[in-house]
């Protein structure tokens, strides 16, 4: 195991300080952990009955994802990995919110969107919560 440590330290030293933030992962954070579960819970509770209902659910997710990204960004450079992790969700949910705002979101579209958002939220939550 000491070899692993030596390799890790040497790798960082050789490639310079600029790469440290790319190599070191972000660590456990109570607020991020709570928020990602809020997002996951909202994803699992999405209802597609009407466009108005869809809009309520989409807007709620947009706000939670925005909170997560702003908080992580404010916390500093070491949070870039979780920002990159949640960014694809931001696009998925923002596209949905835009459609609900113009009334162009069908029920079938919402059903598939829900499945995609659940896959994304489950995976993101797993990574955020399993950090050291």
């Amino acid at each position: 195991m000491k070899k692993i440590l030596l390799i890790a330290v040497t790798s960082v030293a050789l490639t310079g300080c600029a790469s440290i933030t790319q190599w070191i992962p972000s660590f456990w954070d109570d607020n991020q952990s709570a928020k990602i579960i809020d997002i996951r819970q909202k994803a699992h509770n999405i209802q597609c009955d009407t466009v108005k209902t869809q809009k309520t659910h989409a807007d709620g997710l947009v706000k939670d994802i925005q909170w997560f990204l702003l908080y992580s960004d404010s916390k500093g450079a070491l949070q870039k990995d979780v920002v990159r992790l949640v960014k694809p969700m931001e696009q998925t949910v923002n596209d949905w919110a835009k459609r609900t705002a113009t009334g162009e979101a069908s029920k079938g579209y919402c059903k598939i969107k829900k499945k995609v958002i659940i896959v994304q939220a489950d995976k993101a939550a797993n990574s955020v919560l399993w950090r050291y």
Partner: protein, 73 residues
């Protein structure tokens, strides 16, 4: 569609899951349940999901490495 159906039994759970969603949305498009722009957006969502998946794997590996290093210090 045949290529997607082959992925349903490829043995990689994440790929099977994505293929299942892709087939379902293509069938819904053919049945007129979703529009072309909705289908295209949802396909883009599946591509974005792969990006998220890559980032998640990266974080998991780095976290495991940090935990392992901490164990020997």
């Amino acid at each position: 569609m045949d290529e997607l159906k082959n992925l349903l039994t490829c043995g990689a759970p994440w790929a099977e899951q994505r293929a299942k969603i892709a087939i379902e949305l293509q069938e819904m498009f053919e049945d007129g349940e979703i529009s072309e722009s909705e289908r295209n957006e949802l396909l883009q969502d599946l591509i974005n999901t792969d990006k998220l998946n890559d980032e998640a794997d990266d974080i998991n590996i780095k976290s495991a490495l940090v935990a392992a290093i901490s164990g020997v210090m």
